[in-house]
Subunit: 273 residues, 4 copies
Amino acid sequence: MTWKEKVHEVIYEADTTTGKAFDVVLIVVILASLTLVVLDSVESISLKYHNLFVTLEWIITIFFTIEYILRIISIKQPKNYIFSFYGIVDFLSTIPLYISLIFAGSGALLSLRALRLLRVFRVFKLARYTGAGSVVSVALKRSMPKILIFLYSVIIVSFVSGTIMYLVEGPENGYTSIPIGIYWTIVTLTTVGFGDIHPVTPLGQFIATLIMLLGYGIIAVPTGIVTAEMTKENFSRNTQVCYNCGESQHKDNAEFCHKCGYPLNKSKEDIET
Amino acid sequence: MTWKEKVHEVIYEADTTTGKAFDVVLIVVILASLTLVVLDSVESISLKYHNLFVTLEWIITIFFTIEYILRIISIKQPKNYIFSFYGIVDFLSTIPLYISLIFAGSGALLSLRALRLLRVFRVFKLARYTGAGSVVSVALKRSMPKILIFLYSVIIVSFVSGTIMYLVEGPENGYTSIPIGIYWTIVTLTTVGFGDIHPVTPLGQFIATLIMLLGYGIIAVPTGIVTAEMTKENFSRNTQVCYNCGESQHKDNAEFCHKCGYPLNKSKEDIET
Amino acid sequence: MTWKEKVHEVIYEADTTTGKAFDVVLIVVILASLTLVVLDSVESISLKYHNLFVTLEWIITIFFTIEYILRIISIKQPKNYIFSFYGIVDFLSTIPLYISLIFAGSGALLSLRALRLLRVFRVFKLARYTGAGSVVSVALKRSMPKILIFLYSVIIVSFVSGTIMYLVEGPENGYTSIPIGIYWTIVTLTTVGFGDIHPVTPLGQFIATLIMLLGYGIIAVPTGIVTAEMTKENFSRNTQVCYNCGESQHKDNAEFCHKCGYPLNKSKEDIET
Amino acid sequence: MTWKEKVHEVIYEADTTTGKAFDVVLIVVILASLTLVVLDSVESISLKYHNLFVTLEWIITIFFTIEYILRIISIKQPKNYIFSFYGIVDFLSTIPLYISLIFAGSGALLSLRALRLLRVFRVFKLARYTGAGSVVSVALKRSMPKILIFLYSVIIVSFVSGTIMYLVEGPENGYTSIPIGIYWTIVTLTTVGFGDIHPVTPLGQFIATLIMLLGYGIIAVPTGIVTAEMTKENFSRNTQVCYNCGESQHKDNAEFCHKCGYPLNKSKEDIET
């Protein structure tokens, strides 16, 4: 195994001790870098510790630069990495500080640094190993088509209601355009209710009442969809079929058929011999 | 097949290629027309592109006019279409631009053009084909009587609470009338909470607390209703049909029909022999 | 049957045609009377139609007076009715107009007239006959102990959080006392969020974030309780036990056992003979 | 039994009549003490009854002091109690009034007295006996890993969305820093919606719309998790225990143990014969 292969295993894989350790270090550095971005956005903190933040920012940028170079070197087809989603994210989230040396423009700098947020999604790769999240994500994926139809209906309702509220309340009460009316409807339908815009005329308040009751009623729909999907999970994850009696609805941890008592892990051949 | 019959098949049916294509074109034009209405309502956009919008509006109106005339010509009983729900919607949403040539009144014009929104519901006819929405709509239809009783209770509670809040808080704190009190109760009970009106006196705040806890507790009811209905769907996974009486909703572990007592695993041939 | 007995049957019972008709008339008059109260509370309407309202109010009051007298006359033990809950409500909601003839005090008058609201609950007696609401109310009754424990926990959390927010944010940010802090917590925990009071300090906003996530998480609890109870309903309403094989989990509309095919309505004696 | 043992049984245990009575008295005094703290925080009440409150505060403090001393005396290993969680809470919540005799500082006094809130959690020990809360807490405990993954996703989303809103809306519209953006996202995602900060630019309102729809959609996830867990409870209605291996979670229609394949209806005697 060459040193390139070793580096590849550490950076790209997670099945060795050093590979896992590298992933953990990477997550810590990403989180530290994000904390820097967050704290630097708070004016009172930024004024005091700006110099410290710049120093730390440079350390992190150099770490990311080394990581980026190693990723390119250790892979057989560097193009595959460079033009992949994470390759571009890694490049764009590392480069801004170098650019800021040449051009001074803190606004543009900040907006590119925010791309580091996307690196967080690498963390999700770890979550995949835990397996605990799989039940949730399977249930969500299966419910997706139903939820999309639900969202489609919500958008149609928002459209109709947004136009009506624009006509009823009008610009003088804050409903300055139909998009604002749609925005208000979604704020109301989802029971968020900021209150930045709210009906003032009696008719508008009456329509708002109907929309709220509708929103209160239909919140049950996505809940029902996901719950039904999750309850299904409860008893159908075991796909084993008993070779003796053909019973198929076994408990997840079943080793014997609950109907005839035959061992579930015995195949057809076992029976014949 | 005469040309009228051909036109009828294209406009009214959706089981031929051209019929489906026409439906898609219609939806695109409706959505484009709605986008126009929406964008024209935003003052900053309207000031710049008003002339373009007027031109596009005329093109769409002429398209809808041709569609309307073809619908009348190609049907055997034109009256059935003209005085149907969609017939009236089509007429009212096409006419405003022609009227605006004679009388100038942009407000009234806009309000009639908004009727085009109702045309969107034609899109739902397409959704019917997808079949994906059917589980949701079946569960919703079955839950409807229970949800209506629930809404009825909510309205009674709103009435009582609205009057109490009107008496407790009074006009000086924004509760200017009992309808406003009812409006506030529904805003609170559905957990929307705009904050345009809110209790100020300690007693009012205490009553508001009770209403909020009530609302938080009863949100479970519509959710429970719909979920129970959807889970029910889950259980009818047994797709066996009784060969004797035709009953199809059997329990998963059923071996005999619960309606006529006939064995479920016996096929038609078994009966005859 | 004396005339008193006839009046009793019409007023107190609902199993004859005239009895039902009387109930419907009563509900209409109560709703009309409530509509009067509601409309009279809207200042702009009240100024115009006050005289009409007073006249209608007198007609309704006289109707209620006659009903009240008939209820007393037609019952064997008038005391039972007069000092019952509805007896007192009927008396208090009828008397205010007569009192206003002697003393002039519209505020007190209004507050007593609002008692008519309680008469609406008589309408619920009708709802009882429909039977459609019974599944909902049975599930709610069964979930009650669990929901009470849930509410108890919510109140404890509100108490703790209300005190913390009072200490953290203090009177200068609107949290003028611990009860106000508790009120704010419940507004937040139930996801109502009026925004009349909201955290201003970073620490307060951080604690608010935790409370919101908690509220978002625990809304699942009452929902889960009611849903589980309602799903239970789905398959356990049929309490029949098969006399042949002892199977007990039958479908609601089952006439034969799904396990052995034996008729469910046959008793033990039928088998022996 | 010495008097120390008797005191121990009364104070620490709850299985005797006097033990239970003591617990009830303790809860009443704690609640009374908390009511005092709450009422004293309301300025208008505090001004009037401050002297009464101080007197009652002293009576309660002396009661707590006696309880604290008895708890130390009656236990075999006083250290175990003194340095336990409740031991420290008891000490810190009793001491402030004594300190206030020496140093005058009402603010610090109040903040320590608030520790008495923690004593309320002793009340939960009583709830444990009721058993009614156990189903809820078992379902909650089992759902915990899934809910944590859910909360983790919510936090990632809040982070991303908070940064985007900070960049899009900027400090001039109230989004003064990324933490404020995260705070706003959680306010919105949980459908609380205070309205203290809200999007003003069209792009910000569009993103807010997406976040609200997301929040509305994902509220189904914790609900689904808890409900599925609670419904699971429903399914383990089969209380049979396998006489061979002791497994107890059998399917409703199980005839053989799914773990060892032993017939479930055979009793111990059957095995021996």
